[in-house]
């Protein structure tokens, strides 16, 4: 039985919408609305969805970069959401994040040595300056950057190299969990592969656990052990990756899978083209949130919200069709 490292229960994150004459809160963007999942030690859970589905907000809320509206985030038995400032700082040694934009995620006024060294300083992981520099050097080499780069500033590096620096910074505290928020989507195809390989190598070497957030299903499939699919603030399906790709249960997952253009001109696959756009998370559809676009929706779907439950072998889904 795999050991759970992270467990998220009924997590909600609502952003107030202010409007009108006095900028009163008139509604909420329900960015994350009652989301539950877990990540086992040493595995990679892929969290996929289209823009605005709440996947990045989920990641940030787990780390308390955003304060949750409701719910529980259990990391190694401790509820992260109720920790005080000091305990939170301590737990951040164990949970780290890698960002999407390699240009915005590094402080342009700090050298690489300082960027990677800062976490070491904060958590007193080095006894003296020499040890700190040794550590920084070490980590940089681990991510494929020579120590001769230490005194340079971020703007001197290419996107892929910057992303490596971001990985090094996260790695510096020796974390157990890394939340990777679209870490390769800003990179060119040939560079993407380099960073994906790096992340996989590091996982093996350090026994890392990843929550891998992305919109690109083929990348997620390559790197993940299990995959959760989000739509409009909710997880609609979660399963082992082969299970999910071979036997997608939720109509949204099915159409998502069919929509990916494959690099193989001989394969003309049957497309399920969804109608329209994703509705606004301010005023999500009643019942199942997918029903206005769902090719298989029936009466019940617009009235009652389907329950997210296990249909065997840890294959979770939320759809009325499955209950029939």
């Amino acid at each position: 039985m795999a050991e759970k490292l992270l467990e998220v229960n009924n997590l909600k994150k609502y952003f107030p919408v202010k409007a009108g004459i006095f900028k009163k809160t008139v509604a909420y963007v329900k960015a994350v609305d009652d989301v539950s999942f877990f990540v086992n030690k040493g595995e990679t859970l892929g969290l996929v969805g289209e823009s605005g589905c709440g996947k990045s907000t989920t990641g940030r809320t787990i780390l308390r970069l955003l304060e949750a509206t409701a719910g529980e985030v259990i990391f190694e038995g401790k509820d992260v959401l109720s920790l005080n400032k000091e305990d939170l700082r301590n737990i951040r040694r164990d949970m780290q994040i890698i960002f999407q934009d390699p240009y915005a995620s590094l402080n342009p006024r700090m050298t690489v040595a300082d960027i990677v060294g800062e976490p070491i300083d904060i958590h007193n992981l080095a006894k003296n300056k020499k040890e700190r520099n040794e550590k920084v050097k070490d980590i940089l080499e681990r991510v494929g950057l020579g120590s001769e780069y230490m005194r340079r500033y971020p703007h001197e590096f290419s996107g892929g190299q910057r992303q490596r620096i971001g990985v090094a910074r996260a790695l510096a505290v020796d974390p157990k969990l890394i939340i990777a928020d679209e870490p390769v989507s800003a990179l060119d195809v040939s560079i993407q592969a380099q960073v994906i390989n790096l992340l996989q190598d590091l996982q093996k070497d350090f026994g890392l656990t990843y929550l891998f957030i992305a919109h690109d299903l083929s990348v997620v499939k390559h790197i993940s052990d299990r995959i959760a699919v989000m739509y409009l603030g909710k997880i609609v399906e979660m399963a082992d990756k082969t299970e999910l790709f071979d036997d997608p249960m939720h109509p949204y997952t099915q159409s998502l899978l069919s929509a990916i253009p494959e690099a193989d001109p001989t394969k003309k696959k049957e497309r399920i083209i969804l109608e329209g756009d994703v509705p606004s998370p301010v005023d999500p559809p009643s019942g199942c949130r997918f029903h206005p676009r769902c090719p298989k929706a029936f009466d019940k779907c617009s009235v009652e919200e389907p329950v997210f439950k296990d249909y065997g072998d840890n294959h979770f889904a939320a759809c009325h069709l499955l209950e029939e």
Binding site: V189, L217, S218, H222, L257, P261, A263, D277
Partner: protein, 343 residues
């Protein structure tokens, strides 16, 4: 031969578009040849900075000058060299016979004018219709690209529409004057997969009904496989491989194409590690001598560092620019992974 020439809608010959910057000359497009036949879709694929967008802007005559300039070459459109046309003559072609859609639907529409205003503009100049008729025509176009409630939409402003809808508006605008060639520069890159699928389907069906040619520029091999008939792969301002889509995917002959295909994860098969191309694209101000791919190519040796390879016919209708494409073929046969799974 002469007959075949006549058939070509577009014939680009030795096109060189350079940018003269303070740091030096950027050879964004450096001597490329390709052609587009009526009714076909030509895909141009490459990573950022390879010159694919500059190629499309060169055809449209929209390269910003200064600093950019078409330094050499011809762009024959129905036999007429576009590079020699005056601005006024070029304007009659732009938006009329050749039209273009861009990557960013969010910024490609003018925020201060209504959708109808912007679509009808091209109709008024090129078809000579009155404003009222043009508006009616715009509604028709919006219907064709699948925008619900078109009568209402023409009075709305771009910020009131979603990204996918805006891209549909761009397509409606581009097709409003029945162009012979539609240039699409990364039209789906900014969109989500399900919306991308909608747009690609729309483009395919419109192509069928309008019979125009499409030049599809993208970095996404999946989109290329989906929509193109023939493909040109670009790297550092040059076409490195040029053939029909099935051949390209079945038998890539350039190490760069080969690497690109192996560096993307596949849906239908699992690999433990991706075969990544090492290094990064060279700085355009500082291209290496010899083959421009030699800084990243595992096969590079001797000649590759000194002499630039010419693009040659490796097989019937299969052009490749590489000194060692035959060696690559050998290696592929022996199942050698040229991009070692280095750590």
């Amino acid at each position: 031969m002469a007959n075949k020439n006549k058939e070509k809608l577009v014939d680009v010959k030795n096109l060189k578009t350079y940018f003269y910057t303070e740091e030096g000359v950027v050879k964004a497009v450096d001597g490329i040849d390709f052609e587009i036949y009526p009714g076909e879709t030509l895909g141009i694929v490459g990573e950022s900075g390879c010159g694919k967008s500059v190629t499309s802007l060169s055809i449209m005559g929209l390269v910003e000058s200064p600093p950019g300039k078409i330094a050499e070459g011809e762009i024959l459109f129905e036999g007429i060299d576009l590079t020699k046309l005056s601005q006024a003559e070029m304007r009659k072609i732009r938006g009329n016979e050749i039209s273009m859609i861009f990557q960013e639907p969010m910024t490609s529409l003018n925020p201060v004018y209504t959708i109808g205003d912007q679509i009808s503009e091209a109709i008024i100049i090129h078809k000579g219709l009155s404003k009222k008729e043009a508006m009616k025509e715009s509604v028709e176009m919006l219907k064709k690209v699948g925008i619900p409630l078109p009568e209402q939409r023409i009075n709305e402003y771009p910020h009131q529409l979603s990204g996918g809808m805006r891209q549909r508006v761009m397509i409606a605008m581009a097709l409003s004057c029945d162009p012979k060639l539609l240039i699409a520069d990364e039209p789906t890159t900014a969109l989500d997969v399900t919306i991308q699928a909608q747009i690609l389907e729309l483009m395919n069906s419109l192509k069928a009904s309008y019979g125009m040619s499409i030049m599809m520029i993208t970095h996404d091999l999946g989109v290329i496989a989906e929509i193109s008939d023939r493909v040109a792969v670009m790297y550092a301002g040059k076409i490195v491989e040029y053939t029909d889509v099935n051949t390209l995917f079945a038998d890539p002959k350039h190490p760069y194409t080969w690497g690109l295909m192996n560096s993307i994860p596949k849906l239908d098969r699992d690999v433990n590690r991706l075969q990544a191309i090492p290094g990064i694209v060279p700085n355009p101000l500082n291209f290496p001598d010899g083959c421009k791919f030699n800084t990243r190519c595992p096969l590079a040796e001797g000649k590759c560092f000194t002499d630039e390879p010419k693009i040659v016919d490796a097989a019937e209708g299969h052009k490749v620019r590489c000194w060692r494409y035959k060696d690559l073929e050998e290696m592929k046969k022996q199942n050698v992974k040229i991009y070692e799974e280095q750590r």
